[in-house]
């Protein structure tokens, strides 16, 4: 017996709500794309009506704009500013509270209710980013129980991209545009003379069991072909590309390259790139004591290798200059990550390019180092 191949189904767009209801019935809180404040945001949604129907985006270096297309499509946008990371690896989290009882410290783990999410509309790049964070927080010897608990409960509904964004380069990173693995259900939005519908594929038992309860017939070969054609078209329309051949070694041996100074002249060390990056995972903890009752708490916040105190050792910062901070970020992401976690830390989502206020482009910077690699 070979592996069981689940036959793709086809789900009418009008029946998408059934999927959402089934997930809610299974206890999931839906997080999906919502057009809000001029951007697509992944937020709690109630149903199909919250989705960005007829919205698309324009992205380029330091530029993002939401456009109304008037089309019926629900998922016609590229990477949203924030990734799913904020739900699995929350930006701010209480790790414990402690109090002193008869001179003894009592630590109370945060017994917070762990949310059970269903993510609607995870792109292939972000599926890969989640897999990367799995390796950081679960597969790295020590488990982060906060991440692991959220991750374990999460149901991932991938939606294959129907359009490449201006800063996308997932094909260069081997992470898209088609969701290959890591999803429970993957959808491809099809709009043609056969109607508005979704090709539905399942990638897990949980996905199969939800799909089995839907009114979704077996997909026709035409539906399967149409979905494949969309992914193929998207793959050919990437806004950017990055030559990764030998790149980890090239960057590692060019730490003294003058180009880092050139980037530093533009970089504001604002840390936007690390905040929007779906794989960046750095945090800092803050220990506090209440003035009222002496209770102590520890909170964990996202931090960034661009921030001032990030590399503080007694006496000063190890990485004092912007040059060294940008170099740290880029070499970690594209070079050292391989050694640490067995893959690149970049999935080609393009967010760091779009959301850089001065338009620094990771693909250009890496290419510039490569072009003048003399080491």
């Amino acid at each position: 017996m070979g592996a069981i191949v689940k036959k793709p189904r086809v789900l009418d767009a009008a029946a998408l709500g059934e999927l959402f209801e089934a997930l809610k019935a299974a206890g999931h809180t839906l997080i999906g794309p919502v057009p809000r404040d001029g951007a697509i945001q992944y937020q709690p949604i109630d149903g199909v009506a919250d989705l960005p129907a007829g919205w698309s985006d324009f992205q380029d270096k330091g530029r993002y704009r939401l456009n109304e297309t008037g089309e019926a499509s629900l998922f016609d946008y590229a990477s949203a500013p924030q990734s799913w990371k904020r739900y699995l690896h929350p930006p701010r989290l209480k790790l414990f509270s402690a109090r002193r009882e008869k001179g003894r410290i009592r630590f109370d783990d945060e017994a917070e209710p762990i949310p059970k999410y269903a993510f609607i509309g995870v792109r292939a790049c972000d599926l890969n980013a989640i897999a990367i964070q799995d390796r950081v927080f679960i597969g790295n010897g020590q488990i982060d129980p906060h991440y692991a608990a959220r991750r374990e409960r999460a149901f991932l509904v991938a939606v294959n991209c129907s359009r490449a964004g201006g800063t996308c380069f997932c094909t260069s990173m081997g992470t898209g545009p088609r969701a290959e693995t890591g999803y429970d259900i993957a959808l491809t939005e099809l709009i043609d003379d056969r109607g508005h519908r979704f090709l539905l594929e399942t990638g897990s038992d949980a996905g199969e069991s939800i799909a089995a309860g839907l009114d979704a017939a077996a997909a026709a070969p035409e539906d399967i072909d149409a979905a494949a054609a969309i992914s193929e078209r998207v793959a050919g329309n990437m806004g950017r590309s990055l030559d990764t051949e030998g790149l980890p070694e090239i960057l590692a041996k060019n730490l003294s390259h003058p180009h880092w100074d050139a980037v530093a002249e533009r970089c504001l060390a604002c840390s936007n790139c690390t905040m929007v990056c779906p794989s960046c995972f750095c945090t800092s903890v803050e220990d506090t004591t209440s003035l009222e009752d002496g209770t102590a708490e520890r909170w964990r916040d996202w931090d960034s290798c661009f921030s001032g105190r990030f590399s503080y050792v007694v006496g000063g910062q190890v990485r004092d200059s912007t040059r060294s901070r940008y170099r740290q970020w880029l070499t970690h992401k594209l070079s050292y990550w391989h050694e640490q976690f067995g893959s690149s830390g970049c999935v080609g989502c393009g967010r760091c390019i779009t959301w850089c206020p001065v338009g620094i482009d990771i693909t250009e910077e890496a290419a510039a180092i490569r072009a003048t690699d003399e080491a």
Binding site: I143, C282, V313
Partner: protein, 281 residues
């Protein structure tokens, strides 16, 4: 996906109590801790560190400085350098702290079997090396010649002086101390610790060196050891970065491809030398 409920949060400390504390030199205190509640023995290896939590103030990464065969108490030698370490140094018998650990890779005492050992310590760097010296002496027969070379700023800043004298009285251990500066009243050697390497008795072709001290001092010592013919692969240094989580999750202590907290703090010199000589890595 692993069962999350079964996983303890590595960020939550375990309560410990101060058993005793003593002032070593100005600004440096040694504290012994025991579990606040009956707990299983604490097992650590020389060179590892704990994250020690001063109530409400924060945590600091501090190397073990005691005998790792003692599984009942944890000994740390702490230099006051900031709010957390000052808070810890001000604690007395019976006070409470939180401890997470042990973290990191130890000194390679097993791998060094049969070799001559050169221990080079600078300043407070003797503290993380003391457990290694205990470990070497506990299994003295496993090793060839052992030299302990210790450099400090001044005679007043030599750590563990009584113990150094005791070790010096042994016939199976070479102990040399030197200070950078003195204005009299010191009958020992004056000069930098690298000068001791020249004279120490060891076979460079069959020796393992353990170095701990400020980064500049470690670089100079490693170079001196290489000059005497040692291979960088046999030279081990203990790196200092801002370890915060201890488990490679927070990202702070990255040093090139390494997480100092879990890939170190002890590294073979050939692994870190290329990046140690670069600035701001």
């Amino acid at each position: 996906m692993p069962e999350a409920a079964a996983v303890a949060d590595p960020m939550v400390p375990v309560p410990y109590r101060v058993l005793r504390q003593r002032r070593e030199i100005d600004g440096v205190h040694t504290l012994d801790f025991e579990p606040a509640e009956g707990r299983t023995p604490f097992r650590a290896l020389p060179g590892q560190f704990n994250m020690v939590y001063a109530y409400g103030i924060g945590e600091a990464a501090i190397s073990l400085s005691g005998d790792c065969d003692d599984t009942k108490t944890i000994r740390h030698t702490i230099r006051k350098v900031g709010a957390v370490t000052a808070g810890l140094c001000s604690l007395g018998k019976g006070d409470s702290v939180g401890i997470r650990g042990p973290f990191g890779r130890p000194w390679p005492l097993d791998e060094a079997r049969g070799a001559d050992i050169v221990v080079v310590a600078g300043g407070i760097g003797l503290a993380p090396l003391r457990p290694a010296i205990y470990g070497l002496l506990a299994k003295r027969e496993r090793y060839g010649r052992i030299a302990v070379l210790y450099g400090s700023r001044s005679p007043e800043e030599l750590l563990f002086l009584d113990e150094l004298k005791r070790w010096r009285g042994r016939f199976d251990l070479e102990v040399e101390a030197t200070v950078d500066h003195t204005t009299g009243g010191w009958f020992g050697q004056v000069g930098v610790v690298t000068a001791l390497i020249d004279r120490a008795g060891f076979d460079p072709d069959n020796a393992v060196a353990l170095i701990c001290g400020p980064e500049i001092m470690m670089r100079f010592c490693a170079r001196e050891l290489e000059h005497r013919g040692m291979s960088p692969a046999d030279i081990y240094v203990s790196m200092e970065r801002n370890m915060a989580c201890g488990v490679g999750h927070c990202g702070h202590c990255q040093f090139g491809p390494e997480f100092v907290c879990k890939d170190g703090p002890v590294f073979a010199y050939d692994r870190v030398e290329p990046i140690m000589t670069l600035r701001e890595v």
